[in-house]
Symmetry: C2
Subunit: 173 residues, 2 copies
DNA sequence: GTCTATAAAGTGATAGAC
DNA sequence: GTCTATCACTTTATAGAC
């Protein structure tokens, strides 16, 4: 429900009703709404293996691909709530910032920080547009297709220059 | 306030207090909270001039650049609220979909729709990360720097293939 | 035009019965 | 373990006084 409605519009009573129990019982077990949210929206640590610019591209693409196959609802709850609930925003940053600096170290250029931020922004833009906004083709496109289109983008951002697309592997004609 | 807090957390009372008047007066003039929101969050039509794949890239980049210089708070109000307020989501779609199809017609490839969606997702990801989430370097980077980094990305998406970056330094060797 | 008073409904949270 | 009852508060919205 947090993923579908966001933090404020999800009520304890509605959660209890959906669970077939009384609202008091939910409070009894979780204490506060914030704790309930934090239990429902626990994010995996999501460590990225290191590597150079070329490798980080594939790591990021693989990570995105798995999220395009089936984004866990806990992540969606955080994403949906992060713009209005400060706790969700903080949690999101806590998950995003270590990844950001890890990507930064993999990029050789001087503006690595900005490039890493852009890579992050693209990933989140795609996830939000696919799952939360359900806008355009992104809502139902095949993950592979999305990944292949993004690969050259990621490469120019992560390596500092345009590479003549040696990728397009996996039997791309 | 809608831009800073989102729809649900912005109360009529708080708006009235900030305006130095009584909450009843706000209601008297606007009738409902939804109407107040729609007045505060009116979006410009934002027409994109047409053009081919190469041109649409510069149009999109110019549009993004102007939003990076100073995104209007009305847009931010819609963006902040669109994930939790259905009215804001609808308004956002109404503004985004015509642009999406316009970009689509400018792209020559068969998967033009998906490419257009990706371009849209990147733009929104950047805006959200810069203004709403204030994450990483994107929060304070110079618009020009962001635009230049994104240009090759946009080109590969809009034209269908990697172009040898005529707009980039490094001699294009 | 501005405000007071208040209605009507919903919220998170507490205390305690069974 | 589950629920009833209720508190204390907030919200949007209405009606009407000045």
């Amino acid at each position: 429900m947090f993923a579908e409605l966001g933090y404020e519009r999800t009520t304890i009573r509605a959660v209890a009703r959906a669970a077939g129990v009384d609202a008091g019982l939910v409070m009894h077990y979780y204490g506060t709404k914030d704790i309930l949210f934090s239990r429902a929206a626990e994010l995996p640590a999501a460590e990225l293996p290191g590597g150079g610019g070329e490798e980080i591209v594939e790591v990021l693409l693989a990570s995105l691909a798995s999220r395009l196959v089936g984004e866990p609802v806990a992540s969606l709850a955080v994403l949906r709530s992060m713009l209005t609930h400060s706790d969700a925003a903080e949690r999101y940053r806590a998950a995003a910032e270590p990844q950001l600096s890890q990507i930064t170290t993999a990029i050789p250029t001087e503006d690595a920080e900005l490039r890493a931020s852009l890579l992050s922004a693209i990933v989140h833009g795609v996830i939000i547009e696919r799952y939360l906004l359900r806008l355009g083709r992104l809502a139902d496109a095949a993950p592979d297709e999305i990944i292949e289109l993004l690969r050259p983008c990621f490469q120019t951002l992560a390596t500092g220059e345009v590479s003549p697309a040696p990728a397009r592997p996996a039997g791309a004609s």
